[in-house]
Structure formats: structure tokens, C-alpha cells
Amino acid sequence: MTTQKTGGVRHVISRIFEIREIVILLLVLLLGVFMSIRSPQFLTARNFQVVGNYMATDMIIGAFLTISLIAGNTDFSVGSNMGCSAFVCGLLLNGGFSIPLAILGGLVTGVVIGLINAFCVVRLKVLPMIATMGTWMAFKGVGLMIINSSTLSNFPRDFKALVQENQFLGFLGLPSLLASMLIITAVTAFLLKYVSFFHQAYFIGSNPESAKLSGINVKRFTFVLYMLIGLCAAFAGVLAISRYGSAPASLGQGVEFRVISALLIGGVSLNGGEGSILGTFLGILLMALIANALTLFGIDTNLQNVLIGSIMVVSVAIDEANRRRQN
């Protein structure tokens, strides 16, 4: 009887481990409970805002990237895109253009970089990883060239007020960054589940050839997604420089690897066909909580990279183990 019981428990546990979102949620809850016991500052509105701000740009970039990666197309250029687009916006601001025009300039830059990525992938047939690593390097260079490797600052007060004083989306009563993140998360989750155009990401990712044969316009999908990713990366960049009030030369650097590892932790597969917005959100939340915990306890924040890297590899290893067991 006892063997049967453990067998049952083991079965339930193994089923839980098959659903990535639940595993990550458990980790998040575990960390949350631990933190609220050990640190009096953890459960404060102030700290929530810190965590939210930390997550916001990553999630804004990661949302459409999740959909694209489900379809099998990665994008490493998002970090450089974020920086480069923000620099364009900052230069326009400092050049005396109106705030809406400057923001538009930044966003257009992002879309154009996305378009270049899509062109390389769809028309030139370069593998997404290689194409976007190319644009990642190239636009990192372009960004630094246009700002002469120096920090842009002295933006108009009204521009800084957008995020610093929460004027952007202020009617929601939430901090701008948080509101932007939540809206993008909800919208992309809805699109991926209920709108055919985005839902087809799963078909394209799990079998591109038969996706084509069943009438899916894979090329159009790829173009649209890279442009949306570009748009969101630029949007994150604009929000970031409004928040900081300046655009440091290092803006956006390293974002791509952080976001993609969060996606992988959240259950997106680099082989395509798998993943969800919820998983991505939880992956990014987990990363933010780890960073938060290390800061609150005054531990060397470099430990964050060690932890994130390990969690990423372990969670993908669990996936592979599940797959082997099923076959």
C-alpha cells in the first residue's frame, strides 16, 4: 500500500513538473514567503514599485519576443535596439524637436531595426540567431557613434515627467512603467491565445513546413513580429531615458541575454512551438525578486547572474527529462 501511495505522490509531483508555469510560480511564492519573513521592507508598497520598475522594461521587450520565439524566431538585437532608439529620441529632444516628435523618432528607429531583422531572416534566409546577432553588434556600434560614446542628458522637464511623475498613462493611478508593463502583458497574452494571427505562432514553431502547407503566411508573420519587437524595444528605451532623465552610453546593454534567459526559464523553447506570456512574466518576476532579495540583504548582486544562469540550465534540463520520459 505504501509503495502505491508514494507512487501516487510521485505521479502528482511529476505532473506538476511538466507544467513550467507552476514550477516557476512555486519558486516565486517560496522566495516571496521567505522574503516577507526575513525582511521587513519586502512587503511594502515602495518595494513593490522597485520590483515592478525592475521588471517593466524586460517584460515590455519580452512580450512579443515570446510570441516570436514560439514561432522559432529569436531576436538578440533588442538590447542594442533599446539603446539606439533611445539615443535617437534623446538627440531629437536635445535638438529642439517637440516631445511627441522625438518619441516618434525613437519608436520609428526601433521598427526600422525590426524591419532589417525581418529582411535578413525572410528575404536573405539568414538564421534568426545569426541575423540578429549581426544587428545586435551593428546597432550597438551605431548607437555609440551617434552619441559619441557620451551620456545624453538635459532632457526637457516635461519629457522626464512622463515617467518620473507618472504622467504617461497617469489616469490609471499606477506608476507609468508598471501600467505600461501590465497593459502589454495582458494584450499579448490575449493576442497569443485568441487571435489567429498570433496564435499561429505555435503552428509555425512546431512545424514550419506544414504551417506553410496549411495556408499560414509565415513570411508576413515573421515581418510583423520583428517589427513589433522592435517597436517595443524602442518603447522600453524611451521609457528608460524618461525615468533616468539621461541616456547613459551603456543603456540596453545585456538586456537581450537577460530577457532571453527569463523566457527560457518561463518555458519558451528555442526549438519553437512552446511557451506562454504567463511563463515569461513569471520568469521575469523571478529574476526581479532574486535581484531584490540580494539588494535587501546586502549580498553581492553579481550572485544574481550565478543564480539566474543556474536556474535557466536546470529548468531546461527538467524539460528535457520530461520529454525523454514521455517518449
Binding site: 512545424n207 502547407l213 496549411s214 499560414i216 512552446e274
Partner: protein, 504 residues
């Protein structure tokens, strides 16, 4: 008056250097199941691709329901009522069964959102309609067996209101039971007025289910015959273009002393106390249904799987293979049934494949001897009659039969003492089958041992000197040459006569 639904007249299709279709004719009558037969490379696939809109013909006329049609692409063909189920599975593994059936045609609500409740309800209804009450419409596709996936694919084609359904070798990966189910679906569809074009290498199936057969050869129309009035030999003659008296070769070699012995070998739940022997010069056939443990037995012998208990004796001495390289070093060779994924380096040349199998012997002072590899590959190309102008040609460009010969030559060139071969002629045309059987027999005659797994009954019976039957991982009987009948094998492999064992 004949009621013709699909008519092909004088269709030509040329690829650089090849005339794939040469003045092809094909007439499909309403409500019939029509077999399209021909050897590999005869142009069947090209014709199907033309009919399903994947290729545009260079010239010629196609009429559907009396109207001339020109399909721009597969979606266009589907809209007009011609659907195809491809030989290679085209499933979306990480989506559900329901999503696979509808893909982009999923029902939507007034806001344009995918209506999941409705979609699953319709999928359920469709599955029930065809009697698959045990297939869950919300299950992930990749959790289904290959046979079940194939059935979902067919339902997907059916759900598009197809008037003409093309099935391109749907049974090549199916078990016998799944094949039966498929035949039932085809009859069902047929009664609902769907006309079916059926491509298969398995003539038994053609005789079971088809009304008419059209045979093509070298891209040309040869003949159309009512199946009921034809014999197997007649159809084969048309396909090959000559008389084939199939010599499988059982019982023609000198069986010598014991080479290999298995004693009570068990592996997980798939092998339970298997004992058997193999002699020099012998071809031992392993009979069994899918899942009976046949492939696992070969994999245990070759060191891919480690047996949990039992002994393996080679020349009377106990051996333990910890990996395939151990088994290879001991003189064993394993030819997998999955030649494309596990056997060959498809994107490499014939000569490179030969090199890969013989790398240890073709290295001098650390340098690879490409010239020797090329010479060796040339030699086997001649000996095995591999039809290609050049051994530098990529293996993927060869027909299935020639690929199998390349795989066989790679291993035979190492002169192993024991050849383990899984489904030696799956998906291979009649003419090439014969020569592969001759090669296997020739090899056995040189004093080596062969263990062969086959689901092809005539092959198993005709090529094996002795047959061991497996059922759910257990040996249920052994049949000596002369005592073998299809009925006896069926009984042993389905576990019916477990109590009354047939002994030597």
C-alpha cells in the same frame, strides 16, 4: 455513362534533367478507391503534387467535376475539394488534437476571437463520428502514437469537406492494427462519397481495399486495371516492366555451428526472459507486432540498451556490451529501420558515408584517407548496384531503395560477423527489394549470421531460415523452415496460443 470526378490528360512536368511526368493520364471515378502504383521514382509523388497544387504542370489538362482547373497552391486545391495527406507526418506536436484538426480554420466568435469551446466540441464530434471515442481532443499531438497522429491528419483533411482525398503511403509507419483502422476509415469516407487516391507499396493493402489500380513507370501511364480482375504478379510485372520471380532465398545456405546465444535476457518491461540462438550462415527472422520488443532485442544485442538480467554469449563466451562501439568492435553491425534519422548522414556524399563507417581503418598517421574512401565506396557501388553516376552525390538525392543499399554497404564493408537488420525493405520498391534480399543472403552464405526483424510477412517467411516469434517481450514460439505459415506466425505474435507453445 461514367461518372468521372477527376481527370488528368496529357500532363507533363519537367525538372532540370528529369522528365518527371511524360504525357500522364489518370482518371478517378466518383466514389472509388483508386490505387496509384509504381516503383520509387516512377513519378507518383510528382503526380500527387500536381493534383494537390504543390506543383504546376508544364502542360496538360486537369478537370475536376467536369471543369478545367488550375490549382495555384495547396490551399487553392483544398478549397476546390482536393486534399492530400502526406507520407511524412505534418503534425503540430505541441498543439492539441483539436487545434491540429482545425489549425487556421478554427471557429471564431463575433469579435474574431478563437472560440475554443466550439472548436473542441466540433473536434469531439468529428472524432466520435469516425469512432475514435478514446482520442482526447485536448491532448497534445506529440503524446499520440504515430498511427493516431496519422488518423488525426486524415480527419483534418476530411474536415475540409474534401471531394477527393489523396493518401500518400499512409501506412508505411503504422502497425497492423492501426492499418486496419485506417482501412475502416477509408471505407467510411468512401461510403460518404469521398473519392480516394491511394498510394502504397504494400500490394496486400491494395487488394484489400482498392477498386481500381493505375500503374505508372518512368513518369508515364502504363495501364489501369480493376483490382478484382488482377493478380499480384500481373501488377508487379507492370510496375517493374519485366517478370519478377521473387527469390527470397530461405534455406539456401549451409547452417553451421552456434554463433550467438541469448539466455533469459530481460529489459524493463519490453523484454522478458528472452532466449534464442543464432548459427553461422543463418538468417533468423524475428516476428512480432509493433511493441513486442523486436527492435529492443536488436538494441540490447548492439549495446544501445543494457539488459537488466540474462546472458549474451558470443562464440560460447559471455560478453557485455556497454555501448554500440563495444558491439561494433566485437564484430556486430546494426542496420536501423530509421535510416534517415539514425542510419545515414543524408546531407553527406555516399563516399563520406562510407568513410564514416570505416573511419578507423581509413586513417593513416592521423590523416584521413579520402582517396581510399572513394575507392571503397566505388567498389560497393558496383557490388551493390547502387544506381548513381557518382559516389560524390549526396545520399539524400538517392531513392529510398538506393539509400538502403548505401546503409547496408556501410556496415557490410566492415565485414561484421553478425548483422542485425531492422525492417530491411520498408518503403522500398519491388525491384530493389529483391536485390536487397539477395545481398543479405549472399552475406549469410559467407558464414555470417543475420538477425532480421520484419513486419512484411512474405519477406519474413521467404527470407528467414528460422523464425522466432515475440509477443509482449516474450518468446512465444519458434518455427523451423518448412513449418512456417502466415497463420502460425499471426497466432504466435498475437499471443493467442501462448499455452500451446510450438517447439522445435
Amino acid at each position: 455513362m461514367e461518372d468521372v470526378i477527376l481527370n488528368v490528360r496529357g500532363v507533363n512536368k519537367e525538372f532540370p534533367g528529369v522528365k518527371a511526368l511524360d504525357d500522364m493520364h489518370f482518371t478517378l471515378r466518383r466514389g472509388e478507391i483508386h490505387a496509384l502504383l509504381g516503383e520509387n521514382g516512377a513519378g507518383k509523388s510528382t503526380l500527387m503534387n500536381v493534383l494537390s497544387g504543390a506543383y504546376t504542370p508544364d502542360s496538360g489538362e486537369i478537370t475536376l467535376d467536369g471543369e478545367a482547373v488550375r490549382f495555384r497552391n495547396p490551399m487553392d486545391a483544398e478549397k476546390k475539394g482536393v486534399s492530400i495527406v502526406h507520407q511524412e507526418l505534418a503534425a503540430f506536436g505541441s498543439s492539441t488534437v483539436g487545434e491540429n484538426i482545425f489549425t487556421t480554420r478554427a471557429p471564431r466568435n463575433a469579435l474574431g476571437m478563437i472560440d475554443y469551446a466550439k472548436m473542441y466540441k466540433q473536434a469531439r464530434a468529428l472524432l466520435d463520428e469516425y469512432g475514435f471515442t478514446d482520442v482526447n481532443e485536448r491532448r497534445l499531438m506529440r503524446r499520440l502514437s504515430v498511427g493516431r497522429q496519422q488518423i488525426v491528419e486524415i480527419l483534418r483533411a476530411v474536415s475540409k469537406d474534401a471531394k477527393v482525398l489523396i493518401l500518400d503511403e499512409p501506412t508505411s509507419a503504422l502497425t497492423e492494427k492501426e492499418t486496419d483502422i485506417l482501412m475502416q476509415i477509408m471505407r467510411d469516407l468512401n461510403q460518404r462519397g469521398v473519392s480516394i487516391v491511394y498510394i502504397s507499396h504494400r500490394l496486400e493493402e491494395v487488394f484489400r481495399i482498392c477498386d481500381t489500380a493505375t500503374i505508372m513507370r518512368d513518369g508515364r501511364y502504363i495501364v489501369t486495371r480493376p483490382v478484382a480482375e488482377s493478380s499480384r504478379d500481373e501488377l508487379v510485372r507492370y510496375m517493374v516492366g519485366r517478370d519478377v520471380v521473387h527469390q527470397y532465398g530461405a534455406g539456401t545456405s549451409q547452417v553451421g555451428s552456434e554463433l550467438l546465444r541469448l539466455e533469459n535476457v530481460s529489459y524493463k518491461k519490453t523484454l522478458r526472459g528472452v532466449s534464442l540462438t543464432l548459427h553461422k550462415g543463418e538468417v533468423l527472422g524475428l516476428a512480432g507486432l509493433e511493441g513486442a520488443g523486436r527492435t529492443e532485442l536488436l538494441e540490447v544485442l548492439f549495446g544501445v540498451l543494457r539488459p537488466e538480467s540474462g546472458r549474451v554469449l558470443l562464440d560460447g563466451k559471455e560478453v557485455h556490451f556497454h555501448s554500440p562501439s563495444d558491439a561494433k568492435a566485437a564484430g556486430l553491425a546494426f542496420i536501423t529501420k530509421d535510416r534517415k534519422n539514425r542510419g545515414l548522414f543524408l546531407r553527406k556524399s555516399i563516399s563520406d558515408n562510407y568513410l564514416a563507417a570505416n573511419l578507423d581503418r581509413l586513417t593513416r598517421r592521423g590523416f584521413t584517407q579520402f582517396k581510399m574512401a572513394r575507392k571503397g565506396a566505388e567498389e560497393y557501388k558496383e557490388r551493390f548496384n547502387i544506381r548513381t553516376p557518382d559516389v560524390k552525390k549526396r545520399v539524400m538525392k538517392l531513392s529510398g531503395g538506393n539509400q538502403q543499399k548505401v546503409l547496408l554497404s556501410m556496415w557490410v564493408s566492415r565485414q561484421p560477423r553478425i548483422l542485425l537488420i531492422d525492417e530491411p525493405t520498408r518503403g522500398i520498391d519491388v525491384g530493389t527489394k529483391e536485390s536487397i534480399h539477395q545481398l543479405i543472403r549472399q552475406y549469410a552464405k559467407s558464414g555470417m549470421g543475420v538477425i532480421m526483424v520484419s513486419s512484411d510477412m512474405p519477406e519474413l517467411i521467404g527470407a528467414s531460415d528460422r523464425i522466432v516469434a515475440l509477443y509482449e517481450g516474450e518468446v512465444t514460439g519458434e518455427l523451423a523452415l518448412g513449418a512456417v505459415t502466415e497463420e502460425k506466425i499471426m497466432a504466435l505474435t498475437s499471443g493467442i496460443t501462448l499455452s500451446e507453445r510450438v517447439s522445435e
